[in-house]
Symmetry: C2
Subunit: 613 residues, 2 copies
Amino acid sequence: MNYSGAFIPTLREVPADAVIASHRLMFRAGLLRKLANGLFAYLPLGLRSFRKVEQIIREEMDAIGALEIKPTVVVPGELWKESGRWDSMGESMLRVKNRLDNDFVVSPTAEEAFTAIVRDELSSYRQLPLALYQINTKFRDEIRPRYGVMRGREFVMKDAYSWHTDDKSLDDTYQAMGRAYRRIFKRCGLSVIPVKADSGAMGGSGSEEFMVESEIGDNTLILCKKCDYAANSEKAACAPDFTPSSSIEDAKAAAVNTPAFEKIDTPNVKTIDELCAFLKTEPQTFIKTLIYRAVNVELDLSSAPACAKLQRKKPSAEAPAVYTEAFFAVAIRGDLDVNEVKLASALKASEVSLASDTDVVRLTNTPVGFAGPVGLTALPLIVDRTVTGMNDAVTGALEKDLHYKHVAYGRDFTAWMIEDVRTVKAGDHCSLCSGELYTKMGNELGHIFKLGYKYTRSMNVSYLDENGKSQMPIMGCYGIGVDRTLASVIEEHHDEAGIIWPVSVAPYHVIIVPIKYDGAVKESADKLATELTSAGIEVLLDDRSERPGVKFNDADLTGIPWRVVIGDKGLAQNIPQVEIKRRSEKDSTMTDLDKASADIVKKIREEIARLNN
Amino acid sequence: MNYSGAFIPTLREVPADAVIASHRLMFRAGLLRKLANGLFAYLPLGLRSFRKVEQIIREEMDAIGALEIKPTVVVPGELWKESGRWDSMGESMLRVKNRLDNDFVVSPTAEEAFTAIVRDELSSYRQLPLALYQINTKFRDEIRPRYGVMRGREFVMKDAYSWHTDDKSLDDTYQAMGRAYRRIFKRCGLSVIPVKADSGAMGGSGSEEFMVESEIGDNTLILCKKCDYAANSEKAACAPDFTPSSSIEDAKAAAVNTPAFEKIDTPNVKTIDELCAFLKTEPQTFIKTLIYRAVNVELDLSSAPACAKLQRKKPSAEAPAVYTEAFFAVAIRGDLDVNEVKLASALKASEVSLASDTDVVRLTNTPVGFAGPVGLTALPLIVDRTVTGMNDAVTGALEKDLHYKHVAYGRDFTAWMIEDVRTVKAGDHCSLCSGELYTKMGNELGHIFKLGYKYTRSMNVSYLDENGKSQMPIMGCYGIGVDRTLASVIEEHHDEAGIIWPVSVAPYHVIIVPIKYDGAVKESADKLATELTSAGIEVLLDDRSERPGVKFNDADLTGIPWRVVIGDKGLAQNIPQVEIKRRSEKDSTMTDLDKASADIVKKIREEIARLNN
């Protein structure tokens, strides 16, 4: 391809709203243009790389036996009403009414469409397992789209779904997907961090997110300096930094030398810091007691303290019964924070948040700041594991300006439920190897998870098993954002001058830069381009009548992995020479013109083999 | 690929609403399923063929230097307001408001998006010509979607747009596109009829439609039995079947022996047929005079009879000035019909239709059925060319129950405008070779046309020419429906038993059918599949434990071009034999197992070469 006919409008200026490298470089290198806020058009150079990412994903999906299909982008709203997500998806889902007043959705994801297709075709266990995928347009109406295609409104996603007769079969496909995802990112030249993630609103358990480190990431990752432990902070665990008690007896025994608890006056002292200053001690010696409000609690509370009057309700025939609202006290060591995602998960609640001051006063009969576990009867008490190792602590006394000292878990109070609800922080230690933990900000590129029966139940999917009995299949779900993956490649591979494409996703493999596209130089450049092209190498030939400096700058900016410069001086040598330079390296080498083609082909094949291996 | 893992849900039954072969067979062969009225999901087998059609289109676009880009499917409504089509597109365009109350369009076509992209990048004449295309999702909210993907709501279209400094450059690209389209359809195994089409609401002139014959076609095609003349009936011309006069003098001379016209009593005679019966003559001897109402007439009427009081208005700043409503009389030979598309084109009107009876009476001061050209002053008179050869005709006399006989054009009345507005019918003769014309119903697969300045003007696109002067580029526009092309392949290539794929777009090239997938048969089948696959042939191996009859039926239904049957009997021969059958042929041949692979590879390559040639 000749540069002059390739429509590569490079820019010197950086778009004003482009704060991250990929956004800046995709615009400057002429890969992308903006149609509106969050809506981008890929130009020829950008689309070439985009299609390569798509193709790598397609090959790896096909390799594990997943089958590509193509539902529509605009899907009937009826399907979303069946699954219940018409109501639960919120405003980021673009809803449309057509001229006949029918409801449609511009797909943000496709569990419903895929499940509807499979529902109609599935009859026998012999058809399972089945894994289907699409690489197709999605739309999410982000309120604040930004960072270019990293958080756009319209994007392309590979989404796969699988159906199984049992957990074992689901796990096999789930593991195969995990391996395929690792290969996909490796082939794209990306360093991803696979982390255990909370599966959030998607339902089900067993999930892994594929993250890349990013200054503008949505996720805090907890990583170990010694081993490869990685987790989303929402779910991360750490090694205990205390000696927990294994039973009430154990706890009582540990408190045998602790004096009986006693009230202390703490006038106008409300926060842990004030208390530390007042008592001249450390936060680790306190038990903090927080009151939480939880919404849509699935956990059975019929035997929980003070919950006898709560009523469970079914929001719809298909949905599980839930307590619309319930309150809980959470006791945790004074230096730690409660992780609300862990807490919600323990309660099987859709949401938890700190109770309002009014609720705290109403429920504890005490001003805010003096709640404590001793003598608390108005609420079920959830005790973080850390507290089970505390046998001489300070706590609120459920009275204004008063605390207790010498409080021991097991002796002075017990838990309704013991759970790990602490937020893990940098400096905590790894639960696997005791290495020190640290944090990174991460962006999610892919997510695989076990959906369970959420959609097959709500959408009535069934098959006949070996015994002719009707069964419901279990599902898995596996997504990758194509645009975000492409942008992340640029985030990881660039320098001040521009992009540095890995060969596998480069728009072209080689850029040939004739110093002046004329005479013998033109002839050699054309010949080399032809030789490389016939060996399957993708060549961009800079045929423009621009100054060499302009051409070199554009070659660096667009990031083509190999650059060959051809000039009169090199050609005039005894054995004609050309200059070959790898974009990722600083130095170039002179090579015989005759050998240049074979040399480049060899190096590119080696590079692709290395990425594919 | 093993059949058992390929998700090919074939059906015995025909969907109730499937009236055409492609719709029936795409469902029965498991290529497609319905998500909602007009919304279809391609299953794995269908998508494989779909992608091949896409790829053929992509290769041919790339070959003529068009560059692929990817704008979004959902585009800002602002762009459509700029072009004026937000108002003119009607209800088939799916409009959406997002959560911020911004207007969006689910693209039905992409003149606006492409023009917006080019507008921002275009600066110099050196960037032109430029041709860009996409292969992307489109949506048109058909009121009555039907015939499967032949007329669906969501579909995939290849749409290309080009920009040029002058007509010559536009014509070069237009011709190259025409040649590329012919190659695309040939490679897909399709017989298309390229016809001159009316460019309708898209604006501009110079257009060609690529039609396939179809019983359910939207278009009537006029074709010549002798030469390759083909036209949409909306635009078709024919050889004159009369002697036209070349001037008024000529006409007067031809009427030299015609008696002066005179009134005749024709009581209760209103129609041409009644008049023929009453006067015992043929319709060819009558001049029929019809009153038409035209809407949004661009033609200058300032000097037209009885139009002095009409006012031209500009509907918007960018739109041309038009007469909102105007009436015309059209005189045509009694045996012919007026072609309203030709008439609208002559008047540069957006729409023409017969005037209401009330309007006829008001304008001619005569009951309906007695209008005539002699003495008509209240309306501009458009005379069809046929009438210029009539020198002794019968016409209405502008009085109830009265006609004139012996009326001669030129002597007794003249025209405000002489035009060809006749509808060409089967039996008329070709204007090129005088061969007899006949008609077919056709479906449009592709359309190329010269758009002119419609979008570059309304959207303010400009570049600097050689002299540094700002100029507006001229545009062309080129579309192909991918789904419709695929369905048309099936329409042209099928029989009672199923599809008969051309190799180029077949989902697989070869289906291997082991009589029983076991023992030596399994071994030979696997080996053959491996050999073919390593030669680049796409193989479907029917590994199911179904009866041979079921496998044969599915092989015929899914239409894989080559079938290889392997059984114990053939393998037991001195030299082991397999049966090879072409789907398109009735008879099979026995071939040495050892030679089967080479034989099939050769035949498939020949077939692809024939289609590509």
